[in-house]
Symmetry: C2
Subunit: 278 residues, 2 copies
Amino acid sequence: MKIVTTLSEMRIERSLLPEPVGFVPTMGYLHAGHISLVKAARIDCASVVASIFVNPTQFGPNEDLARYPRDLPRDLALLEAARVDMLWSPTVEVMYPSGFQTWVEVEGLTRSLEGELRPGHFRGVTTVVAKLFNAVSPDKAYFGQKDAQQAAVVRRMVRDLDFPIEVVVCPIMREADGLAMSSRNVYLNPAERQAATVLFRALSAAKAAYESGERNAEKLRTLVREIVTAESLAKLQYISCADYDTLEELETVRAKALLSMAVLIGKTRLIDNFVVGL
Amino acid sequence: MKIVTTLSEMRIERSLLPEPVGFVPTMGYLHAGHISLVKAARIDCASVVASIFVNPTQFGPNEDLARYPRDLPRDLALLEAARVDMLWSPTVEVMYPSGFQTWVEVEGLTRSLEGELRPGHFRGVTTVVAKLFNAVSPDKAYFGQKDAQQAAVVRRMVRDLDFPIEVVVCPIMREADGLAMSSRNVYLNPAERQAATVLFRALSAAKAAYESGERNAEKLRTLVREIVTAESLAKLQYISCADYDTLEELETVRAKALLSMAVLIGKTRLIDNFVVGL
């Protein structure tokens, strides 16, 4: 696996890659969810590029940028084993040099849910993803459904700005007890780790209700709320039942919808979701 | 010359073009300034793509979008004669479909001069240029020095977002009496057309002073102000003597600087500039 850290080197190495090129952007500290994206890219594409960049502009001032988990040697071994051809691993100085002042912003879709709780987060995400896309020039880019709003926002950005890139969204990977894989799960102590299963339990109950015919969005949200409230270590930040593309809250589930939630377990913020009506 | 109006057609036709590809974005109603950009691209590149799109998002609510001059048959003949290989000529509906909500914004550079007088203008420019770049995927893109701040903003956007594109800025083309060529010159009545030479006269005086050794920026600005004030049909909107890259106003001209101005001649807004210290 070629490791590339400067833009000039990237331009040269990129031109040598067999096409189509698949791209998996990450912030490192990889888990099976990331590797599932690499595997999907490996199946679709002649070359696979991954990136590791903990993007400072998508963290709020009171968020966990400084303590975000990192383990580059382990990440390199995992990407190598998954047959990634090239790793784009720029420094913060390469990505945000002195005088940097250009931002990409998706408006409507970023106002609710994560965007409401994390002001500026998606502006950081779309800006860095645009930069990564321009550096790597992939044919396809792979994102996890775990970050459902991020996937919707990136799809919107790609459509609105005419990026010649197909966005592929891959299913959430889960631990044996249902907890959605996340680099942030490492923050949980044993009691919190146990409590964290409440996200999956609550969503599973809502999904079962949906599958039994419940189409009233507020009833689905209420079901989730009740289950999370019963877990003493958990604090629900939001539960949403929204249109899959526009993320507008629904009264009645008629088409493809996203049931998504954010929960604080102690000081750790976890998100999870289900898509219904596929 | 192939005329392309949909993104799917563009993807196919673009993949067939010999590289490198040079790109000349325009709003149509072409003059010798635009054609000089095509000629520069023709010399540098194996293929030349031009675009004609009167971009509504860069016009303010009280600006001249509705009456902006258009003459597509003439434009096509001029581009054909200049040996353009492909014209990207999308409709407003193709560029800004329902649900469009993504914007590219350069912050600091767009606060002064044109950006101050035309709020939102550069957000429209950078958004549409990013879209055009993603549609055309050029190796080089050609802009006129006439729109000096636009050229600086686009260069900044390309650098900040890592577009794999070289921005080439070409000299201002002028009428015999010095008036910078502009599609908007057509708005001028004969008396205004005569008065419009005041921009070139004022800048020429400042340039002569610079060449005689004047390095005090305010003295150069004052010289321009005095000459414009003496022209009864002209109203100076701004005169700037600023750093070429950052557009910060200077006290003393030490390195490459931009002397730029906007003047109302009747209801027509004209801009012009000189670069000094090359």
